[in-house]
């Protein structure tokens, strides 16, 4: 399904950071969000994922068809790799985790506790979770942090397979995943104007005006 985002305005901690964000994301395509630190990439992704309300604007796709991968992987240290993955699969009503283990090269680690994984291995497990959600739109926040070159290639292949299957991906990343079908959206032009410049009031200003 096509993701349509229209004139979305998002706020972090009550302060507007982005406004007027508009884009289309077709099935089979990936869109890469670019912008300096603090421009609001994470806030935008969380808003689209339905974790926080937008100040205005509209997202055409319900949160139920999106899988969100944040900085934190949502892993339990005392559970094994397979138990962690099986849990998220069961939550999303799926059973098969083998394909996800193979795709992120976790087969040899399946019985190891997540506490004993390296940072890159944890990240791979966190990304394998996306494969067991069965959801069409992936929202990825810096997915390649702490991944080595081989793992980035592995992840790039997983994203390409997802796109080839009719899914789509919206990601904030600084690393080139080698995705030919990726478009780039620079968030700098959507930066919210300050109050003085006639921009929107934050919740704080509103309370104390």
């Amino acid at each position: 399904m096509e993701v349509r985002v229209d004139t979305l305005a998002v706020a972090r901690g009550g302060i507007p950071v982005l406004e007027g964000v508009t884009f289309r994301l077709q099935p089979g395509r990936a869109l890469i969000l670019r912008g300096p630190n603090g421009v609001g990439k994470t806030t935008l992704l969380r808003t689209i994922a339905g974790l926080q309300p937008a100040l205005e604007g509209r997202v055409s796709v319900p949160p139920e068809s999106m899988a969100y991968a944040a900085h934190a992987d949502g892993l339990k240290a005392v559970l094994t790799v397979e138990e962690n993955l099986r849990f998220w699969a069961a939550v999303h009503g799926l059973r098969d985790v083998e394909a996800a283990l193979v795709a992120m090269d976790l087969l040899s680690l399946r019985d190891r506790r997540a506490a004993n994984l390296s940072a890159g291995q944890k990240r791979r497990l966190g990304l394998a979770r996306l494969l067991v959600t069965g959801r069409a739109v992936w929202l990825l926040d810096e997915p390649t942090v702490s991944l080595d070159v081989a793992s980035v290639a592995l992840f790039g292949a997983a994203v390409r397979a997802h796109l080839a299957g009719g899914g789509s991906a919206l990601m904030a990343t600084h690393i080139d995943l080698g995705l030919a079908e990726a478009d780039v959206l620079d968030l700098e032009p959507f930066r919210a104007r300050g109050r003085v410049a006639g921009g929107r009031m934050g919740a704080f200003d509103e309370a104390f005006q």
């Binding site: 796709v61 139920e64 949502g74 069961a90 009503g93």
Partner: protein, 246 residues
């Protein structure tokens, strides 16, 4: 939801919140329950913490009060109930704080399980790990406190019917302080007043049982609190979590 969402079509197992909530959602809640129980019994999960605290209270109180059997027997219902309540309080902040810290709560909030269901399942897991062991251990500790024979049945019954309320109210309190670093103190202060009615009716039921009076009325009132809390508070807790996740 402040955003207006169009009606999107699912991919694989897409569902629209409550409307399509079915077998898979139930399986997801079951998986969550199993995961929470597994986490509790594995190393560092905190299982037994409440039970150990309960044991300490029951062992230390007779040492502090002195060896007069009839004094101990008179205060035993109250001491056992206060001990169980405080033991429950000890592990409350783990209900959501750990899931918040490792990012699981964000992912659960976007999962097909309704957040109200997540709260209910996590409260149930807390009760199974804390309330049930306390209820089972209470008669043994009653012996230490010289609880009269007539009180044991009422003690077990009142704890079995009252501790679910402690877990559900506690889950609500834990939801309110999600995201607050070291929120334990705030959580205790928020939750304690809400625990008072359960404590009063629970201890009263046991006291009346010991005295040979009819104990059904406090027991029924306490059960009413439990049922009301279990029916309403998951919704309040889910709303609190949604706000705290922003």
């Amino acid at each position: 939801m402040f955003l207006q969402r169009g009606s999107g079509r699912g991919f694989g197992c897409g569902r629209d919140g409550w409307a399509g909530f079915g077998v898979a959602g139930g399986a997801g809640m079951w998986a969550l329950l199993i995961r929470d129980l597994r986490l509790a019994v594995r190393a560092g999960g905190g299982f037994g913490l409440g039970l150990a605290f309960f044991l300490l209270v029951a062992v230390l109180v007779p040492l502090g009060v002195g060896p007069e059997g009839d004094v101990l027997g008179r205060i035993a219902p109250g001491i056992l109930w206060v001990g169980a309540l405080l033991a429950c309080l000890l592990s409350l902040d783990r209900i959501f704080a750990l899931d918040f810290e490792d990012g699981s709560l964000d992912l659960l909030a976007t999962a097909p399980i309704p957040l109200e269901g997540v709260v209910a399942v996590k409260a149930l897991a807390h009760w199974l790990v804390t309330g049930v062991p306390l209820t089972l251990a209470a008669p043994v500790l009653g012996v230490l406190l010289n609880l009269p024979a007539a009180g044991y049945g009422w003690l077990v019954l009142s704890l079995a019917l009252g501790t679910p309320a402690l877990s559900v109210i506690g889950a609500f309190g834990a939801a309110l302080v999600v995201g607050v670093k070291r929120g334990g103190l705030l959580l205790s202060l928020l939750v304690l007043p809400l625990y008072v009615p359960t404590l009063i009716f629970g201890a009263e039921a046991v006291s009346r049982g010991v005295a040979g009076q009819a104990a059904e009325v406090p027991l029924l009132l306490m059960t009413g609190i439990t049922l009301g809390a279990a029916a309403l508070l998951p919704f309040a807790a889910a709303a609190a979590i949604r706000i705290n996740l922003r």
